[in-house]
Symmetry: C2
Subunit: 178 residues, 2 copies
């Protein structure tokens, strides 16, 4: 099979921000999933793949924590929206920049909502060949209290899914952090 004749394999990768360092830093498991895809799948075949980065932002229930007033005008909402967009774009910049360096084509976009639901919805819409999601590799006890986006996607996404666990050496002190 010669490259160039076949359309590239389209790999969707779900990425999110670090719970410890916050935006624009990527979470450990996002970086691990991305690096794994480059090292183990793409390898030297940069023209054979296209990476599709999806970042899902969870709508802030009380986005006014850092503001002086609780009286919100429509403009306040707009500026919050802009702030969120800018943060998301900075997160995606890291992944897009690395792809450009290596010479792998990519796309990146932001959606808002429940990450697991949105990822599965975007899989239906975009129809990638497969989906890569990072996983914190939590034990059954830890899972009771936190969302496990990767497990939900493995079960419900309408494309093959590969969950990449954080290596034990890269897990932060609190394994729920990422």
């Amino acid at each position: 099979m010669e490259e160039g004749r076949q359309p590239p394999t389209r790999v969707m990768i779900g990425v999110n921000e670090s719970t410890i360092k916050g935006y624009p830093n990527a979470s450990i498991s996002s970086r691990v999933a991305f690096d794994w895809t480059l090292t183990k799948i793409v390898r030297s075949n940069t023209s054979g793949f296209k990476l599709l980065f999806l970042h899902v932002q969870v709508p802030d229930e009380d986005g006014f924590d850092d503001m002086d007033s609780i009286y919100a005008s429509p403009d306040d909402f707009k500026s919050l929206q802009h702030r969120d967009n800018a943060r998301g774009i900075h997160l995606l910049e890291y992944f897009v920049h690395r792809c450009h360096e290596i010479g792998v084509s990519c796309e990146a976009w932001i959606k808002k909502g429940d990450p697991k639901e949105v990822i599965c919805h975007e899989v239906m819409r975009v129809q990638p060949d497969f989906l890569v999601v990072g996983s914190r590799g939590l034990g059954p006890f830890q899972k009771v209290f936190v969302g496990t986006v990767s497990e939900f996607c493995v079960k419900h996404a309408e494309c093959p899914v590969i969950a990449i666990k954080r290596p034990p050496g890269e897990a932060p002190q609190d394994p729920v952090d990422d």
Copy 2:
């Protein structure tokens, strides 16, 4: 990253025989998983990957169905063993032959036991970069009555796992068949 410097990505693929046609025919989901790996992952980068085919044979509880006598000598067991080995080797031949045609390096071997347990055990022993398993894509009701090797491996194998579903068009009349 230049190929040749990096060791190839080692992809383990679990394969089994067709429940309809029997040995040496591969099951639909095994063939689908193999074709998917070639088309979507290996592509033109044949030197970047090594495929590791594992076929697990379920020990026959009553392997004397096709014999005239139930009086078994040690030689009977030996000949059964040889028959099973020969069948397994013919199944693996299909995959190994196709790899040789394409120029992808591969290994293939047979183990006996409970497929889901043996696959996970072999993952620990062989340490592939990831595991590809075919899946019949059964609904929750159908799953109650049959083993779901792929789901077990996704949960328990000590490496990333990607389950490839049979396309609906390739499913046999009885979806439990494969």
